[in-house]
Amino acid sequence: MDYNVCVVIRHPPYGTVLPAEAYRTIQALQTFEREVSVLFMADGVLTLVDTTDPGPIGMQRLAEAYLSLLALPGVTLAVHPASLEERGFSIGDLVAMPEGSEYRFVDSEEIEDYITDHKTVLCF
């Protein structure tokens, strides 16, 4: 893996195409065997809330798509817990990880170092 990239998802999952396009970008980067950290923050955390159900609007759940990225090496899913709490959720509301995987929780004090620890940052 020649470089690592932090993909920051800060928009809600279904109001725009951005979180879905971020997913497609990460898939492509996985093809090139890049190390990708996906950081969900602000409204982006709603992507992983377990009770989110876009069925009535004819959309597929993005949470499963993101979890499926963990089947290949090089992807980490990170969550900013304060963003969850600001929206009335907690880490217990997140969709369950597959066995053997776990979320990386990044608190507000750590988030700057976490992002700058990557060679590049992509914001969606």
Binding site: D2, Y3, V5, H11, T16, V17, L18, E21, R24, T25, A28, L29, F32, R34, K119, T120, V121, L122, C123, F124
Partner: protein, 119 residues
């Protein structure tokens, strides 16, 4: 010290200031001696490649982007995004083209810094 910069644009023209900001950023970076390794146009950003854009009495963002492309800076729009938006390779400015996410990966690999506009 010159740095290599990659650029991602997520916004279409004339809706927000994102495209203008991107163009001004690129021009300023080049004026300072930095290198732009490439500009990748994603989602609605691909609309900026549309050669049919007319902007009577105003700046033509597609032409400004085309001018940037004449300086050996790759300007690549996501081909899938273009297809979803009815844009074909025949609709693009002379110095812009449609391509895959591999181009974005290349910019990420070669750059020292990467910046996103829009979204």
């Amino acid at each position: 010290m010159p740095v290599k910069i990659g650029v991602l644009l997520l916004s279409g023209p004339y809706q927000t200031q994102d495209v203008d900001s991107m163009i001004h950023f690129v021009e300023a970076a080049l004026a300072k001696g930095h290198e732009i390794v490439g500009i990748f146009l994603y989602t609605d950003g691909v609309y900026n490649l549309n050669v049919k854009i007319k902007a009577p009495g105003d700046r033509n963002l597609a032409e400004e982007l085309d001018a940037i492309g004449t300086g050996d800076i790759p300007v690549v729009g996501c081909g899938v995004c273009a297809k979803f938006r009815g844009l074909t390779k025949h609709d693009t400015i002379e110095h812009g083209k449609l391509g895959g996410l591999g181009a974005l990966d290349g910019y990420l690999e070669r750059c020292d810094r990467f910046i996103t506009f829009g979204g």
